[in-house]
Protein backbone atom coordinates (compact mmCIF):
# COMPACT_ATOMS: atom_id res chain seq x y z
CA UNK A 1 0.00 0.00 0.00
CA UNK A 2 2.81 2.36 0.91
CA UNK A 3 4.54 1.39 -2.32
CA UNK A 4 1.51 2.30 -4.41
CA UNK A 5 1.09 5.50 -2.43
CA UNK A 6 4.68 6.53 -3.10
CA UNK A 7 4.51 5.48 -6.74
CA UNK A 8 1.40 7.54 -7.43
CA UNK A 9 2.85 10.48 -5.56
CA UNK A 10 6.11 10.30 -7.49
CA UNK A 11 4.32 9.81 -10.80
CA UNK A 12 2.10 12.85 -10.34
CA UNK A 13 4.92 15.08 -9.18
CA UNK A 14 7.14 13.94 -12.05
CA UNK A 15 4.36 14.37 -14.61
CA UNK A 16 3.72 17.89 -13.47
CA UNK A 17 7.45 18.68 -13.30
CA UNK A 18 8.22 17.37 -16.78
CA UNK A 19 5.16 18.99 -18.36
CA UNK A 20 6.44 22.17 -16.79
CA UNK A 21 4.25 24.71 -18.50
CA UNK A 22 1.10 23.96 -16.47
CA UNK A 23 2.84 24.40 -13.14
CA UNK A 24 4.56 27.54 -14.32
CA UNK A 25 1.28 28.94 -15.55
CA UNK A 26 -0.29 28.59 -12.10
CA UNK A 27 2.56 30.59 -10.59
CA UNK A 28 2.26 33.19 -13.35
CA UNK A 29 -1.48 33.42 -12.70
CA UNK A 30 -0.79 33.90 -8.99
CA UNK A 31 1.59 36.77 -9.74
CA UNK A 32 -0.73 38.41 -12.25
CA UNK A 33 -3.81 38.24 -10.02
CA UNK A 34 -1.83 39.72 -7.15
CA UNK A 35 -0.47 42.50 -9.31
CA UNK A 36 -4.00 43.42 -10.44
CA UNK A 37 -4.87 44.68 -6.96
CA UNK A 38 -2.46 47.64 -6.89
CA UNK A 39 -4.03 48.75 -10.17
CA UNK A 40 -7.53 48.36 -8.77
CA UNK A 41 -7.10 49.99 -5.35
CA UNK A 42 -4.33 52.41 -6.32
CA UNK A 43 -0.63 52.24 -5.41
CA UNK A 44 -1.18 53.67 -1.93
CA UNK A 45 1.35 51.85 0.26
CA UNK A 46 -0.61 52.07 3.50
CA UNK A 47 -3.80 50.77 1.93
CA UNK A 48 -1.91 47.94 0.20
CA UNK A 49 -0.16 46.90 3.39
CA UNK A 50 -3.54 46.69 5.07
CA UNK A 51 -5.03 44.29 2.54
CA UNK A 52 -1.84 42.51 1.42
CA UNK A 53 -2.45 39.33 3.46
CA UNK A 54 -5.96 39.03 2.07
CA UNK A 55 -4.80 39.63 -1.51
CA UNK A 56 -2.14 36.95 -1.33
CA UNK A 57 -4.50 34.44 0.22
CA UNK A 58 -7.29 35.10 -2.29
CA UNK A 59 -4.84 34.89 -5.19
CA UNK A 60 -3.44 31.60 -3.84
CA UNK A 61 -6.94 30.25 -3.53
CA UNK A 62 -7.84 31.19 -7.11
CA UNK A 63 -4.59 29.79 -8.52
CA UNK A 64 -5.20 26.56 -6.67
CA UNK A 65 -8.70 26.41 -8.11
CA UNK A 66 -7.26 26.83 -11.59
CA UNK A 67 -5.08 23.74 -11.30
CA UNK A 68 -7.64 21.45 -9.70
CA UNK A 69 -9.02 19.83 -12.82
CA UNK A 70 -5.64 18.36 -13.66
CA UNK A 71 -5.75 16.14 -10.55
CA UNK A 72 -8.09 13.63 -12.15
CA UNK A 73 -8.96 14.80 -15.62
CA UNK A 74 -6.01 13.43 -17.62
CA UNK A 75 -6.26 10.16 -15.71
CA UNK A 76 -9.94 9.96 -16.51
CA UNK A 77 -9.33 10.55 -20.21
CA UNK A 78 -6.54 8.00 -20.66
CA UNK A 79 -8.20 5.41 -18.44
CA UNK A 80 -5.69 5.39 -15.57
CA UNK A 81 -8.49 6.23 -13.20
CA UNK A 82 -10.18 2.91 -13.96
CA UNK A 83 -6.89 1.19 -13.21
CA UNK A 84 -6.68 2.96 -9.86
CA UNK A 85 -10.07 1.52 -9.01
CA UNK A 86 -8.74 -1.97 -9.74
CA UNK A 87 -5.44 -1.47 -7.93
CA UNK A 88 -4.80 -3.68 -4.88
CA UNK A 89 -4.99 -0.67 -2.60
CA UNK A 90 -7.91 1.46 -1.38
CA UNK A 91 -8.85 4.25 -3.75
CA UNK A 92 -8.74 6.61 -0.77
CA UNK A 93 -4.98 6.08 -0.45
CA UNK A 94 -4.41 6.84 -4.12
CA UNK A 95 -6.53 9.97 -3.86
CA UNK A 96 -4.55 10.98 -0.80
CA UNK A 97 -1.35 10.59 -2.82
CA UNK A 98 -2.76 12.56 -5.71
CA UNK A 99 -3.98 15.36 -3.47
CA UNK A 100 -0.61 15.51 -1.81
CA UNK A 101 1.08 15.60 -5.21
CA UNK A 102 -1.22 18.47 -6.15
CA UNK A 103 -0.18 20.32 -3.03
CA UNK A 104 3.51 19.80 -3.81
CA UNK A 105 3.23 20.86 -7.43
CA UNK A 106 0.61 23.61 -7.24
CA UNK A 107 0.71 25.08 -3.76
CA UNK A 108 4.34 24.77 -2.72
CA UNK A 109 5.53 27.05 -5.59
CA UNK A 110 2.94 29.61 -4.51
CA UNK A 111 4.22 29.53 -0.95
CA UNK A 112 7.78 29.99 -2.17
CA UNK A 113 6.88 32.99 -4.33
CA UNK A 114 4.46 34.54 -1.80
CA UNK A 115 7.09 36.52 0.19
CA UNK A 116 8.26 38.20 -3.01
CA UNK A 117 4.70 39.30 -3.68
CA UNK A 118 4.50 40.41 -0.08
CA UNK A 119 7.33 42.84 -0.79
CA UNK A 120 5.51 44.34 -3.75
CA UNK A 121 2.37 44.74 -1.64
CA UNK A 122 4.28 46.37 1.22
CA UNK A 123 3.51 43.61 3.70
CA UNK A 124 5.11 44.54 7.06
CA UNK A 125 8.43 42.71 7.37
CA UNK A 126 7.71 41.02 10.69
CA UNK A 127 4.73 39.19 9.14
CA UNK A 128 6.61 37.26 6.43
CA UNK A 129 7.30 34.26 8.63
CA UNK A 130 3.66 34.05 9.58
CA UNK A 131 2.54 34.41 5.95
CA UNK A 132 4.67 31.44 4.91
CA UNK A 133 3.78 29.43 7.98
CA UNK A 134 0.02 30.03 7.66
CA UNK A 135 0.14 29.09 4.00
CA UNK A 136 2.09 25.95 4.85
CA UNK A 137 -0.55 24.75 7.27
CA UNK A 138 -3.56 26.14 5.40
CA UNK A 139 -3.00 25.22 1.76
CA UNK A 140 -3.17 21.42 2.23
CA UNK A 141 -6.87 21.96 2.94
CA UNK A 142 -7.16 23.71 -0.45
CA UNK A 143 -5.64 20.72 -2.25
CA UNK A 144 -7.64 18.08 -0.41
CA UNK A 145 -11.03 19.83 -0.57
CA UNK A 146 -10.19 20.70 -4.16
CA UNK A 147 -9.54 17.05 -4.95
CA UNK A 148 -13.03 16.34 -3.65
CA UNK A 149 -14.46 18.94 -6.02
CA UNK A 150 -12.38 17.61 -8.91
CA UNK A 151 -13.62 14.10 -8.17
CA UNK A 152 -17.22 15.27 -8.15
CA UNK A 153 -16.95 16.96 -11.52
CA UNK A 154 -14.42 14.71 -13.29
CA UNK A 155 -16.93 13.10 -15.66
CA UNK A 156 -18.44 16.39 -16.76
CA UNK A 157 -17.39 18.06 -19.97
CA UNK A 158 -17.69 21.58 -18.67
CA UNK A 159 -17.17 21.00 -14.97
CA UNK A 160 -14.96 24.05 -14.39
CA UNK A 161 -17.58 26.56 -13.32
CA UNK A 162 -19.51 23.98 -11.34
CA UNK A 163 -16.27 23.04 -9.60
CA UNK A 164 -15.73 26.63 -8.47
CA UNK A 165 -19.33 26.95 -7.33
CA UNK A 166 -19.06 23.79 -5.24
CA UNK A 167 -15.59 24.36 -3.84
CA UNK A 168 -15.26 28.07 -3.12
CA UNK A 169 -17.80 28.06 -0.25
CA UNK A 170 -15.80 25.25 1.35
CA UNK A 171 -12.59 27.24 0.97
CA UNK A 172 -13.88 30.14 3.01
CA UNK A 173 -12.85 28.87 6.47
CA UNK A 174 -9.26 28.41 5.22
CA UNK A 175 -9.28 31.92 3.83
CA UNK A 176 -10.73 33.43 7.02
CA UNK A 177 -8.30 31.79 9.43
CA UNK A 178 -5.32 32.11 7.07
CA UNK A 179 -5.80 35.85 6.76
CA UNK A 180 -6.55 36.22 10.49
CA UNK A 181 -3.20 34.54 11.26
CA UNK A 182 -1.24 36.99 9.13
CA UNK A 183 -3.22 39.99 10.35
CA UNK A 184 -2.67 39.00 13.95
CA UNK A 185 1.05 38.75 13.21
CA UNK A 186 1.00 42.20 11.60
CA UNK A 187 -0.83 43.69 14.59
CA UNK A 188 1.39 41.79 16.99
CA UNK A 189 -1.54 40.15 18.80
CA UNK A 190 -1.94 36.53 19.73
CA UNK A 191 -1.78 34.20 16.74
CA UNK A 192 -2.06 30.75 18.25
CA UNK A 193 -5.86 30.45 18.37
CA UNK A 194 -6.26 31.33 14.68
CA UNK A 195 -3.40 29.03 13.81
CA UNK A 196 -4.94 26.14 15.68
CA UNK A 197 -8.27 26.68 13.95
CA UNK A 198 -6.52 26.83 10.59
CA UNK A 199 -4.63 23.64 11.34
CA UNK A 200 -7.90 22.10 12.51
CA UNK A 201 -9.62 22.92 9.21
CA UNK A 202 -6.64 21.50 7.35
CA UNK A 203 -6.46 18.28 9.33
CA UNK A 204 -10.21 17.82 9.15
CA UNK A 205 -10.23 18.08 5.37
CA UNK A 206 -7.07 16.00 4.93
CA UNK A 207 -8.65 13.26 7.01
CA UNK A 208 -12.12 13.26 5.48
CA UNK A 209 -11.98 14.64 1.94
CA UNK A 210 -10.26 11.55 0.38
CA UNK A 211 -13.17 9.38 1.51
CA UNK A 212 -15.79 11.63 -0.04
CA UNK A 213 -13.65 12.01 -3.18
CA UNK A 214 -13.26 8.23 -3.50
CA UNK A 215 -17.03 7.81 -3.19
CA UNK A 216 -17.51 10.44 -5.90
CA UNK A 217 -15.03 8.77 -8.24
CA UNK A 218 -16.64 5.37 -7.77
CA UNK A 219 -20.00 6.90 -8.67
CA UNK A 220 -18.53 8.75 -11.63
CA UNK A 221 -16.91 5.69 -13.15
CA UNK A 222 -19.84 3.34 -12.66
Amino acid sequence: MLFIFLTVLKRDVLLSWRQGSAGFMVVAFFIIVTSLFPFAVGPDKVALAKISAGIIWVAALLSCLLSLDRIFHADYEDGSLDQYLLAPCPLEVIIFAKSLAHWVTANLPLIIIAPALGITLNLPTHAYGMLIFSMMIGTPALSFIGALGAALTVTLKRGGVLLSLLILPLYVPVLIFGVLCVEAAIAGTQVSSHMMLLAGVSLFSVALAPWAAAAAIRVGLE
Binding site: L156, G159, V172, V219, E222
Partner: protein, 245 residues
Protein backbone atom coordinates in the same frame (compact mmCIF):
# COMPACT_ATOMS: atom_id res chain seq x y z
CA UNK B 1 -39.83 3.15 5.74
CA UNK B 2 -39.38 1.10 2.63
CA UNK B 3 -43.15 1.04 2.33
CA UNK B 4 -42.91 4.60 1.05
CA UNK B 5 -40.34 3.66 -1.57
CA UNK B 6 -43.15 2.71 -3.87
CA UNK B 7 -43.84 5.83 -5.99
CA UNK B 8 -47.48 4.97 -6.53
CA UNK B 9 -48.08 4.62 -2.80
CA UNK B 10 -46.12 7.79 -2.16
CA UNK B 11 -48.29 9.64 -4.69
CA UNK B 12 -51.48 8.40 -3.00
CA UNK B 13 -50.30 9.43 0.47
CA UNK B 14 -48.94 12.76 -0.77
CA UNK B 15 -52.27 13.55 -2.41
CA UNK B 16 -54.00 13.03 0.94
CA UNK B 17 -51.49 15.13 2.89
CA UNK B 18 -51.17 18.09 0.55
CA UNK B 19 -54.67 19.64 0.94
CA UNK B 20 -54.39 19.40 4.74
CA UNK B 21 -50.87 20.75 5.01
CA UNK B 22 -51.72 23.54 2.59
CA UNK B 23 -54.88 24.70 4.33
CA UNK B 24 -53.48 24.27 7.84
CA UNK B 25 -50.37 26.15 6.79
CA UNK B 26 -52.51 28.93 5.36
CA UNK B 27 -54.52 29.22 8.58
CA UNK B 28 -51.35 29.24 10.70
CA UNK B 29 -49.85 31.88 8.44
CA UNK B 30 -52.93 34.08 8.86
CA UNK B 31 -53.01 33.62 12.65
CA UNK B 32 -49.24 34.07 12.99
CA UNK B 33 -49.16 37.21 10.86
CA UNK B 34 -52.14 38.75 12.65
CA UNK B 35 -50.69 37.82 16.02
CA UNK B 36 -47.26 39.09 15.12
CA UNK B 37 -48.24 42.32 13.42
CA UNK B 38 -51.23 43.42 15.55
CA UNK B 39 -51.60 41.47 18.79
CA UNK B 40 -48.06 41.00 20.09
CA UNK B 41 -46.72 43.95 22.13
CA UNK B 42 -44.18 46.27 20.58
CA UNK B 43 -40.60 45.40 21.42
CA UNK B 44 -39.09 47.75 23.99
CA UNK B 45 -35.76 48.21 22.27
CA UNK B 46 -36.63 47.66 18.65
CA UNK B 47 -40.06 49.25 18.34
CA UNK B 48 -42.25 48.46 15.35
CA UNK B 49 -39.25 47.34 13.27
CA UNK B 50 -38.89 44.38 15.60
CA UNK B 51 -41.91 42.87 13.91
CA UNK B 52 -39.72 41.79 11.00
CA UNK B 53 -38.78 39.04 13.43
CA UNK B 54 -42.03 37.23 12.65
CA UNK B 55 -40.95 36.78 9.05
CA UNK B 56 -37.22 36.54 9.61
CA UNK B 57 -36.86 33.87 12.32
CA UNK B 58 -39.09 31.27 10.64
CA UNK B 59 -37.36 31.87 7.29
CA UNK B 60 -33.89 31.39 8.76
CA UNK B 61 -35.12 28.38 10.66
CA UNK B 62 -36.52 26.81 7.50
CA UNK B 63 -33.40 27.68 5.50
CA UNK B 64 -31.44 25.41 7.83
CA UNK B 65 -34.19 22.84 8.35
CA UNK B 66 -34.56 22.60 4.57
CA UNK B 67 -30.89 21.85 4.21
CA UNK B 68 -31.06 19.26 6.99
CA UNK B 69 -34.05 17.64 5.27
CA UNK B 70 -32.04 17.59 2.06
CA UNK B 71 -29.05 16.11 3.90
CA UNK B 72 -31.14 13.39 5.55
CA UNK B 73 -32.75 12.48 2.23
CA UNK B 74 -29.28 12.33 0.68
CA UNK B 75 -28.00 10.04 3.42
CA UNK B 76 -31.02 7.83 2.85
CA UNK B 77 -30.33 7.78 -0.85
CA UNK B 78 -26.68 6.82 -0.28
CA UNK B 79 -27.30 4.23 2.43
CA UNK B 80 -30.51 2.59 1.28
CA UNK B 81 -30.37 3.49 -2.43
CA UNK B 82 -33.84 4.86 -1.98
CA UNK B 83 -34.92 6.29 -5.36
CA UNK B 84 -37.57 8.50 -3.81
CA UNK B 85 -35.03 9.98 -1.41
CA UNK B 86 -33.14 11.43 -4.40
CA UNK B 87 -36.30 13.11 -5.56
CA UNK B 88 -37.25 14.52 -2.16
CA UNK B 89 -33.70 15.84 -1.69
CA UNK B 90 -33.87 17.44 -5.10
CA UNK B 91 -37.31 18.86 -4.33
CA UNK B 92 -36.05 20.43 -1.07
CA UNK B 93 -33.22 22.41 -2.70
CA UNK B 94 -35.05 25.26 -4.48
CA UNK B 95 -37.51 25.71 -1.62
CA UNK B 96 -34.70 25.89 0.90
CA UNK B 97 -32.79 28.28 -1.35
CA UNK B 98 -35.79 30.62 -1.49
CA UNK B 99 -36.14 30.52 2.31
CA UNK B 100 -32.43 31.35 2.56
CA UNK B 101 -32.90 34.33 0.23
CA UNK B 102 -35.89 35.44 2.30
CA UNK B 103 -33.88 35.11 5.52
CA UNK B 104 -31.01 37.15 4.07
CA UNK B 105 -33.35 39.77 2.62
CA UNK B 106 -35.49 40.27 5.73
CA UNK B 107 -32.36 40.12 7.86
CA UNK B 108 -30.74 42.93 5.93
CA UNK B 109 -33.94 45.01 6.09
CA UNK B 110 -34.01 44.45 9.83
CA UNK B 111 -30.32 45.19 10.15
CA UNK B 112 -30.63 48.71 8.73
CA UNK B 113 -32.77 50.23 11.52
CA UNK B 114 -31.21 48.07 14.27
CA UNK B 115 -27.51 47.99 13.50
CA UNK B 116 -27.38 50.84 10.98
CA UNK B 117 -26.19 48.60 8.17
CA UNK B 118 -27.81 46.36 5.60
CA UNK B 119 -24.93 43.93 5.63
CA UNK B 120 -22.15 43.03 7.97
CA UNK B 121 -19.54 40.38 7.26
CA UNK B 122 -19.95 38.53 10.51
CA UNK B 123 -20.11 34.80 11.10
CA UNK B 124 -23.86 34.37 11.04
CA UNK B 125 -24.58 36.35 7.88
CA UNK B 126 -21.61 35.02 5.97
CA UNK B 127 -22.37 31.42 6.79
CA UNK B 128 -26.02 31.86 5.75
CA UNK B 129 -24.81 33.39 2.48
CA UNK B 130 -22.70 30.29 1.95
CA UNK B 131 -25.70 28.15 2.72
CA UNK B 132 -27.31 29.81 -0.28
CA UNK B 133 -24.24 29.02 -2.41
CA UNK B 134 -24.38 25.40 -1.28
CA UNK B 135 -28.02 25.19 -2.34
CA UNK B 136 -27.11 26.70 -5.71
CA UNK B 137 -24.18 24.31 -6.15
CA UNK B 138 -26.42 21.38 -5.33
CA UNK B 139 -28.97 22.47 -7.92
CA UNK B 140 -26.19 23.09 -10.44
CA UNK B 141 -25.02 19.48 -10.05
CA UNK B 142 -28.47 18.25 -10.96
CA UNK B 143 -28.61 20.53 -13.98
CA UNK B 144 -25.11 19.67 -15.16
CA UNK B 145 -25.60 15.93 -15.48
CA UNK B 146 -27.67 14.17 -18.07
CA UNK B 147 -27.60 10.81 -16.34
CA UNK B 148 -30.13 11.12 -13.50
CA UNK B 149 -28.92 8.23 -11.33
CA UNK B 150 -25.33 9.46 -11.43
CA UNK B 151 -26.45 13.03 -10.78
CA UNK B 152 -28.38 11.79 -7.76
CA UNK B 153 -25.31 10.16 -6.24
CA UNK B 154 -22.96 13.06 -6.91
CA UNK B 155 -25.55 15.52 -5.61
CA UNK B 156 -26.02 13.54 -2.40
CA UNK B 157 -22.27 13.66 -1.73
CA UNK B 158 -22.37 17.43 -2.23
CA UNK B 159 -25.35 17.76 0.10
CA UNK B 160 -23.81 15.62 2.84
CA UNK B 161 -20.50 17.49 2.75
CA UNK B 162 -22.38 20.78 2.99
CA UNK B 163 -24.22 19.77 6.17
CA UNK B 164 -21.10 20.93 8.07
CA UNK B 165 -22.11 24.48 7.21
CA UNK B 166 -25.42 24.14 9.09
CA UNK B 167 -23.48 23.54 12.30
CA UNK B 168 -21.25 26.50 11.50
CA UNK B 169 -24.38 28.65 11.16
CA UNK B 170 -25.86 27.34 14.38
CA UNK B 171 -22.75 28.00 16.45
CA UNK B 172 -21.41 31.02 14.55
CA UNK B 173 -22.99 33.43 17.05
CA UNK B 174 -21.14 31.70 19.87
CA UNK B 175 -17.80 31.21 18.13
CA UNK B 176 -17.34 34.69 16.77
CA UNK B 177 -18.10 38.08 18.18
CA UNK B 178 -21.17 39.01 16.24
CA UNK B 179 -23.78 41.67 15.77
CA UNK B 180 -26.37 38.96 15.50
CA UNK B 181 -27.91 37.98 18.80
CA UNK B 182 -27.22 34.50 20.19
CA UNK B 183 -29.81 31.75 20.33
CA UNK B 184 -32.77 32.87 22.38
CA UNK B 185 -35.74 30.61 21.62
CA UNK B 186 -34.21 27.22 22.30
CA UNK B 187 -31.58 27.40 25.03
CA UNK B 188 -30.66 25.14 27.92
CA UNK B 189 -32.40 27.49 30.36
CA UNK B 190 -35.59 27.56 28.33
CA UNK B 191 -36.79 30.36 26.12
CA UNK B 192 -35.54 33.87 26.78
CA UNK B 193 -38.46 35.47 24.97
CA UNK B 194 -41.74 36.21 26.75
CA UNK B 195 -44.77 34.25 25.71
CA UNK B 196 -46.69 37.20 24.13
CA UNK B 197 -43.92 37.68 21.60
CA UNK B 198 -42.98 34.04 21.26
CA UNK B 199 -46.29 32.47 20.31
CA UNK B 200 -46.70 34.22 16.92
CA UNK B 201 -43.12 33.21 16.10
CA UNK B 202 -43.89 29.59 16.85
CA UNK B 203 -47.13 29.70 14.87
CA UNK B 204 -45.23 31.24 11.96
CA UNK B 205 -42.59 28.51 12.17
CA UNK B 206 -45.33 25.89 11.96
CA UNK B 207 -46.88 27.75 9.02
CA UNK B 208 -43.55 27.92 7.15
CA UNK B 209 -42.92 24.28 7.89
CA UNK B 210 -46.31 23.23 6.53
CA UNK B 211 -45.71 25.40 3.50
CA UNK B 212 -42.34 23.72 3.01
CA UNK B 213 -43.92 20.26 3.31
CA UNK B 214 -46.63 21.18 0.83
CA UNK B 215 -44.23 22.52 -1.78
CA UNK B 216 -41.77 19.65 -1.36
CA UNK B 217 -44.54 17.10 -1.74
CA UNK B 218 -45.80 18.93 -4.83
CA UNK B 219 -42.36 19.08 -6.32
CA UNK B 220 -41.64 15.43 -5.53
CA UNK B 221 -44.90 14.43 -7.20
CA UNK B 222 -44.03 16.39 -10.30
CA UNK B 223 -40.50 14.94 -10.32
CA UNK B 224 -41.95 11.43 -10.15
CA UNK B 225 -44.24 12.25 -13.04
CA UNK B 226 -41.34 13.83 -14.94
CA UNK B 227 -39.31 10.66 -14.50
CA UNK B 228 -42.27 8.57 -15.63
CA UNK B 229 -42.75 10.67 -18.73
CA UNK B 230 -39.03 10.48 -19.51
CA UNK B 231 -39.20 6.70 -19.27
CA UNK B 232 -42.28 6.60 -21.48
CA UNK B 233 -40.63 8.84 -24.04
CA UNK B 234 -37.62 6.56 -24.03
CA UNK B 235 -39.85 3.58 -24.60
CA UNK B 236 -41.72 5.32 -27.42
CA UNK B 237 -38.53 6.30 -29.21
CA UNK B 238 -37.23 2.74 -28.80
CA UNK B 239 -40.40 1.45 -30.40
CA UNK B 240 -40.10 4.05 -33.13
CA UNK B 241 -36.61 2.85 -33.95
CA UNK B 242 -37.95 -0.64 -34.37
CA UNK B 243 -40.53 0.70 -36.79
CA UNK B 244 -43.68 0.19 -34.74
CA UNK B 245 -44.91 3.74 -35.16
Amino acid sequence: MHKFANPARFMRIAKKIVPWSFSLGFICLAIGLYGGLFVAPEDEEMGEAGRIMYVHIPASYMAMAGYIAMGISSVMSVVWKHPLADLTARACAPVGAVFTCLALFTGSLWGKPMWGTYWEWDGRMTSVLFLLFLYLGYMAVWNAMEDRTRAAKIASIVAIVGVINVFVIKFSVEWWYSLHQPASIITSEGSKITMDILWPVLVMIIAYKLFFITIVLWRTQSLIMERKSEKLEGRISALREKGYY
